[in-house]
């Protein structure tokens, strides 16, 4: 029994990390070996850089907290932030991995219990989270250990145990929510659509709940007295902060009091609660998982309307190839739950955060801040640049234009490849599809922003136009990058999208460009140049990018398209 589960887990990990595939690809076929080394190298360097940044940040935080005798606050903050993020992003992740993996039709006929399949998939998700935690939490533990001068012999084992348990609760909670959601969706007809909407609602609820807890904790008025009282006892801020999520206190104490009996108790509590939440999930999952998956296999069959009207309506549908490709790209993306859930989440995160803040924290301070901001002479011009930047952020972080060919995969790319369209047409079609999705996705965020900021219409329009031009040029770059190195080999659609290096490159390049332009504008403004100047400079940079993108498209697209073979 044990070995069966273990081999199942190992097989899942092998597939998830493409171990066999990479070995074949890089070692046996020696294909693009240098590329593999280059990528692995740059990822390791990047991870180390990021980890060092986190370490420095935690160190600074620690010294500040030490002044108040609250070093352990560093741990609590890190742990809370990590768990919160894992919970929010976990919803889309667990729905994708549990319910939309392509290996389910293979696994389900095997003589396995649902909980065994779930455990193996859970292990994959944990492994995935550990990679992130290594960069974002491990340095915090190290920084705290250095600062607080801990007894390493007791500290290290406790820290490792806490590290390993850290993702369990948020992922188990996300999984429990997902199992319930999918069970409900399973009863309905339009499963894909409801999965997407339900997933977003869950994320919205989680964010709202979290913010509600936060605002309740920092009830105005009580603040100062409250904090003074708390400061009297060392590390008691930890208790306050952790009240929104008690296990984070256990985790903190387990690490900070490592080696003491109290530390041990907290460690046991934390690991115990983690194990219990996992157990709860398995019980629930064992009950409902297969039912939902099986009902998911039955795709909805609409009541087919008579065909005559369809054939007639086809006449109204005559489109140019590029537009038709763009529309197909949009339909395929937004109808596939894995893509829509993971890709559109950024479109909603910002507006939901803002709306919740607006509703909860009806803060006079905030209103005053906005008031004085609006009174600034250059507010509208700078605001227009913020609008433009929002488009750019959405493109860079949604990953949509960086994965169109990867998402087609080996199974589907034959279609476009054998169609009479040039590489340029395909690239423009895909970029256009991505751009339209981003424009639509930007609407809720822009609406909220405009509701608060109330930019002049002209500034708002300039911002939107600038944003569309900037994001479209980035879409073109993204599509070309994915054309140059598409990830066609996958069995799990999530992989083509979220484990795709092109998307990570996209985020990094996007962040770098945004940082570059942002610093340029801040420098300009500080030197006394006008907001108009800042707008003009941004416009110039964007025009340059757009020209470069279109030129590159002309030069490279056809060749790159030819190079894709299957």
């Amino acid at each position: 029994m044990k070995t069966r589960l273990l081999s199942l887990i190992l097989a899942q990990l092998n597939i998830f990390f493409s171990i066999s595939h990479s070995r074949y690809y890089y070692l046996k076929k020696r294909q693009r070996l240098w590329e593999g080394i280059l990528i692995a190298g740059s990822i390791i360097i990047l991870a180390l850089t990021l980890a060092f940044g986190v370490y420095k940040l935690a160190q600074g935080f620690c010294s500040q907290a030490a002044l108040l005798n609250q070093e352990a606050l560093t741990l609590t903050t890190g742990i809370l932030a990590a768990q919160f993020l894992m919970l929010i992003l976990g919803v889309a992740l667990v729905i994708s991995v549990f319910y939309f993996s392509n290996d389910l039709p293979i696994l389900i006929p095997l003589p396995l219990k649902p909980w065994e399949v779930l455990t193996s998939k859970f292990a994959v998700i944990l492994a995935n989270e550990y990679l992130g935690l290594l960069v974002f939490i491990a340095p915090v533990f190290v920084a705290y250990g250095m600062r607080a001068d801990v007894n390493w012999a007791g500290y290290i084992p406790s820290a490792i145990l806490v590290f390993l348990s850290l993702p369990v609760i948020p992922i188990a909670v996300a999984s429990i929510l997902a199992v319930i959601l999918m069970r409900i969706v399973g009863f309905t007809k339009r499963k894909d659509t409801l999965t997407i909407i339900g997933g977003f609602l869950l994320v919205g609820l989680i964010i709202a709940g979290q913010l509600y807890l936060q605002t309740r904790l920092s009830a105005p008025g009580a603040d100062e007295e409250f904090i003074m009282r708390m400061l009297a006892r060392a590390n008691s801020l930890v208790t306050v902060l952790g009240r929104q999520f008690p296990p984070s206190i256990f985790a903190t104490h387990a690490v900070s009091l490592a080696g003491t009996s109290k530390g041990l108790l907290n460690l046991c509590l934390f690991v115990g609660i983690s194990a219990f939440s996992f157990y709860l999930f398995l019980v629930l999952g064992n009950q409902f998982f297969y039912q939902s998956v099986l009902s998911g296999f039955e795709a909805p069959k609409g009541k087919s309307r008579p065909f005559v009207s369809r054939a007639e309506s086809a006449q109204a549908h005559e489109r140019t190839p590029i537009l038709s490709l763009a529309i197909a790209e949009m339909k395929l993306f937004s109808r596939t739950p894995v893509y829509a859930l993971n890709g559109f989440i950024g479109f909603l995160m910002f507006p939901v955060l803002f709306v919740v803040l607006l509703v909860m924290g009806n803060d006079p301070e905030m209103a005053k801040l906005w008031g004085s901001l609006r009174a600034m002479p250059e507010f509208h011009r700078i605001g227009s640049l913020l609008v433009a930047a929002y488009f750019f952020v959405l493109v860079a972080f949604s990953g949509i234009p960086f994965s169109p060919f990867s998402r087609e995969g080996k199974a589907h790319i034959w279609f476009l490849k054998s169609q009479p369209v040039s590489g340029q047409e395909v690239a423009i079609g895909k970029a256009l599809g991505a751009e339209i999705m981003v424009i639509i996705g930007a609407i809720p965020g822009l609406a909220v922003f405009q509701y608060i900021a109330r930019l002049h219409v002209s500034s708002f329009v300039i911002g939107v136009l600038l944003g569309i031009a900037a994001s479209y040029s980035f879409c073109v770059f993204g599509v070309l990058l994915d054309m140059a190195r598409p990830m066609l080999e996958w069995t799990d659609p999530r992989k083509a999208f979220k484990s795709n290096l092109n998307i990570i490159f996209g985020m990094l390049i996007g962040a770098a460009i945004l940082f570059g332009i942002g610093s340029l504008i801040v420098t300009l403004l500080k030197r006394g140049y006008s907001g108009l100047m800042a707008q003009a400079v941004s416009g110039g940079v964007v025009a340059l990018f757009l020209a470069a993108g279109l030129k590159l498209l002309q030069l490279a697209a056809d060749r790159l398209w030819m190079r894709i073979e299957l």
């Binding site: 294909q31 795709a299 086809a314 589907h412 054998s418 009479p420 073979e565």
Partner: protein, 256 residues
């Protein structure tokens, strides 16, 4: 289409392909020609290189050597014009599961620039022939294997392509559909067009094809009409099956 009369619709000139990392040539200096009005059957054992050849013709793979000309257009130099002339259905037609049948067909028609009126006529005709009319509004996800194949066939025939290329088209079709499909190939050639298809069903090849090519280990080892092939064999009156088995003997058996 009289302008096709004297010019081959498909011409392979000494085409070779080696997959990266593989020691042997998957296709080895292959030359053949398909004339207007011909049905060309492409036969060979598993792994002989049939799919590889077809992939090169339709632009899914680039040949290492040689030239492929489709109705006067080189597939490497002018891929778009060449592909305009081709209708292609692969061995496993994976279609976009989350489009409906009609959305898929409209996408294909848009890409080929099929005008609206022609489009609805052809779609309607092909769909009712394949008995797909009732399903065309559903997501492709809900189709059976054979329905997907019939939809792919419909898509490939929408623009009335001069050259129809199929990789093992009979797999998964029910007897009625497969009969329909054979008639369709015949009538397609009647218009002066050509069909090039690979198959393992030798009876079909024997009855249907004007010309048969047999490929083994990447090399074309026999090519011609059924009569010409019979002349190759030791005994007259042999079936295509006998000829095929004779010609494609594994090496070990050869030497004994």
């Amino acid at each position: 289409m009289s302008q096709h009369a004297n010019r081959s619709l498909l011409k392979l000139e000494s085409v070779s392909k080696t997959y990266r990392g593989s020691p042997a040539k998957a296709v080895d200096h292959l030359s053949l020609e398909v004339m207007p009005g011909e049905i060309f059957g492409f036969l060979g054992p598993n792994g002989a290189g049939k799919t590889t050849t077809i992939k090169m013709i339709v632009g899914l793979l680039a040949p290492d050597h040689g030239r492929i000309i489709v109705d006067g257009h080189d597939v490497v130099e002018d891929p778009v014009s060449a592909k305009m002339k081709i209708g292609f259905v692969p061995d496993y037609p994976n279609l976009y599961n989350r489009l409906t049948g009609i959305e898929y067909l409209n996408l294909v028609a848009d890409i080929h620039g099929v005008s609206a009126s022609e489009r609805s006529n052809r779609i309607e005709g092909l769909l009712s022939m394949f008995d797909l009319t009732h399903a065309v509004g559903d997501l492709i996800q809900t189709y059976s294997h054979g329905m997907k194949q019939k939809l792919a066939l419909t898509g490939a025939l929408l623009h009335n392509p001069p050259l129809f290329i199929l990789d093992e088209p009979m797999v998964g079709l029910d007897p009625r559909s497969s009969r329909l499909f054979k008639d369709l190939m015949r009538s397609h050639c009647g218009q002066g067009y050509a069909v090039f298809f690979s198959t393992h069903i030798l009876e079909v090849a024997e009855r249907l094809c004007d010309k048969v090519g047999i490929i083994n280990k990447g090399k074309l080892i026999a090519c011609g009409s059924m009569d010409e092939l019979r002349r190759l064999s030791k005994e007259a009156d042999e079936s295509l099956e006998d000829i095929f088995l004779e010609l494609t003997l594994p090496e070990e058996a050869d030497s004994t």
